[in-house]
Amino acid sequence: MMQATVAETFAKLWTLDKEVLAIAWLSLRVSISAVVLGSAIGIPAGAVVAITTFPGRNGVTAVLNAFMGLPAVVVGLVVYLLLSRSGPLGTLGLLFTPTAMIFAQTILVTPLIAALTRQMIEDADRELGEQLRSMRLSVGQRARTLVVDARFSLVVAVLAAFGRAVSEVGAVLVVGGNIDGHTRTMTTAISLETQKGDLPLALSLGLVLMALVIVVNALASLLRSYAMRTYG
């Protein structure tokens, strides 16, 4: 039985099974969108927290760090309540759509990106902050300069967020509903197909997921080493 499962798995991958590709594409679309949105919010927010002092800064830092480990299913539940028919955003009609999944994953990854960015920019500020302040750069200009300078390190934060988004199952399952051909992602499909006993499909999706994570990390590693060689 195991041999047959493995053979069918590789057959699905070799023939570029349409169902596998569609599910993988939706997963990528949702996770990449969430990471882009999370980066757009989390990187500037983390950078500003890193280089400014304000009352409650330590509290904000603690919350960011704590939210790095937000339970995905809880985020899914909160977003479900927001988007459900009787919720404050119910009129938008987004529940059980890819947009709802992107919304939920954005909430999941933004604190992670912000917390990692804060740490990296704080380190960069230790090295360059005095120089930048002596040049009379504003807070915004300093934050932007440090983010650009730490761009190759920040790739790690973005990658960590992508890894979290693409591999989580709780939030997308609750707000997406795992609807075939509409909101079914790799993780929710693997979970469902395993329960149904369609192991070749589950296994082929698992292999695609693993390959994606490995390729993305390898690319990031190459980028970092290129940057270190080029810019020192």
């Binding site: 090295e127 360059l128 902050g129 005095e130 120089q131 930048l132 302040r133 002596s134 040049m135 009379r136 750069l137 504003s138 200009q141 300069t145 650009v148 300078d149 190759f152 940057a227 080029t230 810019y231 020192g232």
Partner: protein, 249 residues
């Protein structure tokens, strides 16, 4: 361009966390030439420089630049180890112009002029962090130069450089001073101070204990602190005198 003079420092105190770093430091700088701040480690020289720059705020005291407000004076501070971006040499120099909101072309022209001045124009596109220590410090001076500072503050700019690189940096400092920039230099290198400075302020335990012409202070310091510091920092004088004495018949 000596409109920043006199630089009047009055009752400057700095006590971070209750620790006294500057203790009612008084000084009036009137010379248009290079002024050196000397003194032992922890005396408060670098902190004084940072307060003059506006990088640190004193707990008490005032600084005046002639009749002008501090924020109206174009100041540039060069550190012992310049903070460099992971970017090209030109981009690092252009960084100093970010607050100026100039056009791209105006920035490129100014950056080019500054890099020509320090002899790095032909390497503008190279990675700044790949430069040697001396070249990095020349870049730091270009970054100051590009803002056409009226007051240039230098915090041990040659502390980790070899004699050749030191000479190049000193040549640039002198050139900027001759162009009308008022230069205030912190240095432990008394040979350098003798070569560059017109006047010296000796700082000890957060106070200016002596201020006068460089030649007089280096040869005949009056305060006990200045005497001890100069004697301690110039062992080669004692060595030279000993050797001279030994060679006499």
């Amino acid at each position: 361009m000596t409109a920043v003079l006199p630089i009047t420092v009055r009752d400057l105190s700095f006590r971070p966390g209750g620790r006294i770093v500057l203790d009612r430091l008084d000084a009036t700088i009137t010379s248009a030439g290079i002024t050196a701040l000397i003194g032992p480690n922890g005396a408060g020289k670098s902190v004084t420089l940072r307060i003059i720059d506006g990088l640190l705020q004193p707990d008490d005291g005032t600084i005046r630049f002639g009749n002008r407000l501090p924020q109206d004076v174009r100041r540039a501070l060069v550190f012992q180890r310049p903070g460099l971006l992971r970017a090209s040499i030109a981009r690092n120099v252009a960084l100093a112009l970010v607050p100026w909101k100039l056009s791209r072309q105006a920035i490129a022209e100014r950056v080019d002029q500054a890099l020509v001045a320090v002899g790095l124009a032909h390497r503008a596109d190279e990675a700044a962090r790949r430069l040697s220590g001396g070249e990095q410090q020349r870049l730091a001076l270009a970054r100051a130069w590009v803002t056409e500072p009226e007051l240039l503050l230098l915090d041990e700019p040659t502390a980790s450089l070899d004699p050749g690189a030191t000479e190049e940096i000193e040549r640039l400092i002198v050139r900027m001073a001759r162009n009308g920039t008022k230069v205030v230099l912190v240095s432990h290198n008394l040979g350098q101070v003798a070569r560059l400075a017109e006047d010296i302020i000796v700082i000890s335990r957060g106070q200016a204990v002596e201020h006068g012409p460089a030649r007089r202070i280096l040869s005949a310091p009056r305060s006990a602190e200045a005497q001890a510091y100069i004697k301690g920092e110039l062992p080669w004088i004692a060595f030279s005198e000993t050797r001279t004495a030994c060679s006499q018949p």
